[in-house]
């Protein structure tokens, strides 16, 4: 899977985006990213496993909020940082 990393998380991926990683669900992808880049998961998911307030996941161009949903035949995942205010 090709995963596009937003700028606030590039310090974890040594400024690399996109990255290629295995996973059939968003949860598996985040876990795999955390394995490769320790600390990554806690910045996008909270300690209860929920998606952080200003984080959005897209499967191809479709928003996905179910971390356990199958990503099917998708080839790309986008992690987006959505923020309001200054």
């Amino acid at each position: 899977m090709i995963v596009h990393i937003p700028s606030p998380l590039l310090s974890y991926t040594e400024q690399v985006t996109p990255v290629e990683i295995s996973g059939g669900t968003l949860r598996e992808i985040v876990q795999a990213l955390d394995g490769r880049y320790p600390g990554f998961a806690f910045r996008v998911l909270d300690e209860q496993g929920g998606i952080r307030e200003h984080i959005r996941f897209f499967r191809e161009t479709t928003p996905e909020t179910d971390l356990g949903a199958s990503l099917g035949g998708a080839r790309e995942v986008h992690i987006i940082c959505a923020l309001s205010g200054g």
């Binding site: 606030p8 806690f42 910045r43 998911l45 909270d46 300690e47 940082c81 205010g85």
Partner: protein, 396 residues
């Protein structure tokens, strides 16, 4: 009277510090450091560290004088802690930052989530490596490895009265309700205090296993009735290092002192402030060697609570008689149109013989006095909104 009152005997008076001073400044857009020459006349600003990140607190460990912890939260991501063991040259993220235990609750009842690491406190001198962190929602966490891994202090966070003592789902006051003012008794590593927004001051005498409220005598103008056991809103709590039986707090509803030998009841020493100024504010700073001397920065708590310098005329107020009288200190501050807000972690002292005092404003200025508050001058401006000012290596 608390049993602890009897054992809070006078501690050894710390020697006055000398030489250059370094300030660690946390802001809404990164952290900065201000270093002085040995006379504290000239200051040099360095930084930022972590530009753009919301930095709530930066603290240098006074025990080893090289370990630094920094509480960060980028606008987009979850909160975390960073550590430096080379005085800030390099930073490494904590491998297990403060987080509540995962709960497999019923649907719609998820467990608690740390939104912000708000307050960092080194542990007792006899416990190197121990740190405490206070968070929003209000909770206490402890590290025993210099801030790398953190565990929930269950005695407070899972206390049977936690839901009564805290407002975990209430985002107010501005930036959320927090656990702050973590204080370790210099005479007893097991004796702890914390302050909780709209909760009160709480005390533990067994290293955090059990807790009790310590609020009698404090006003709660926002709640009907009198002499409530908890629900108060301490803004900043402090225990005097030389006389640990003397406690102070700047509360949402006034300025207070407690002497444990006289009973566990707060006395509103803010009643001795000028009526036109009032006794509302956020920070309180204690003289490190004189238990009778303290400084506050009053802010307007009238009408809709503007919480800026009354009349647009910034001033510090000092007492030298344990709050029985207060003297205005404003030499060097703007004489008009100075609408400053100084948050609870934004006032500090440096331990020198002629005490250096420092304050940071939400409008991004740092002001300093090197003569016990008599004269002030601006030593940095144009910074982002200041969240905390710490003197490196000095416990406030």
């Amino acid at each position: 009277m608390s049993p602890n009152a009897s054992k809070s005997t006078a501690a050894r008076k710390p020697r006055a510090r000398k030489g250059a001073v370094e300030l660690l400044i946390a802001t809404r857009k990164g952290a900065f450091r201000l270093k002085s020459d040995p006379e504290r006349k000239e200051w040099r600003l360095r930084g930022p560290w972590m530009l753009g990140q919301i930095i709530q607190h930066v603290v240098l460990d006074p025990r080893d004088r090289k370990t630094m912890l920094l509480a960060a939260r980028p606008g987009h991501l979850g909160p975390s802690l960073f550590r430096s063991t080379d005085k800030g040259k390099t930073w490494v993220e904590a491998s297990s930052p403060p987080a509540f235990p995962k709960v497999k609750g019923k649907k719609g009842q998820p467990g608690r989530v740390v939104r912000t690491n708000f307050w960092l406190c080194p542990g007792h001198a006899s416990e190197p490596g121990v740190w405490y962190a206070g968070t929003s929602p209000p909770a206490l966490f402890r590290s025993e490895d210099g801030g790398d891994t953190w565990k929930s202090v269950k005695g407070f966070n899972d206390h049977k009265d936690y839901a009564k003592w805290t407002r975990p789902e209430d985002p107010a006051p501005p930036d959320g309700a927090t656990l702050h003012s973590i204080t370790v008794d210099p005479n007893d590593a097991r004796h702890l205090f914390v302050g909780v927004s709209v909760g009160g001051v709480f005390e533990s005498e067994d290293a955090g296993k059990s807790w009790a409220p310590l609020n009698l005598g404090c006003a709660m103008d926002f709640y009907p009735g009198e002499d409530h056991e908890y629900g108060h809103d301490p803004h900043c709590f402090a225990q005097h290092p030389v006389d640990p039986s003397r406690l102070w707090q700047q509360n949402h509803c006034g300025l207070y002192r407690m002497d444990r030998a006289a009973g566990d009841r707060w006395i509103r020493v803010g009643d001795h402030m000028p009526k036109a100024i009032g006794d509302i504010g956020f920070p309180i700073v204690l003289h490190p060697r004189d238990p009778d001397t303290a400084w506050v920065f009053p802010m307007d708590g009238t009408s809709v609570w503007p919480r800026v310098s009354p009349g647009g005329k910034p001033a510090v107020y000092r007492t030298k008689d344990a709050g029985e009288s207060w003297q205005r200190q404003d030499r060097g501050f703007p004489g008009s149109q100075g609408w400053w807000t100084v948050k609870r972690q934004c006032m500090a002292q440096d331990g020198h013989e002629k005490l250096g005092l420092y304050l940071g404003t939400t409008s991004g200025e740092i002001w300093a006095s090197r003569d016990d508050g008599a004269r002030w001058r601006c030593i940095a401006r144009h910074l982002p909104h200041v969240y905390a000012v710490e003197v490196a290596g000095v416990v406030q």
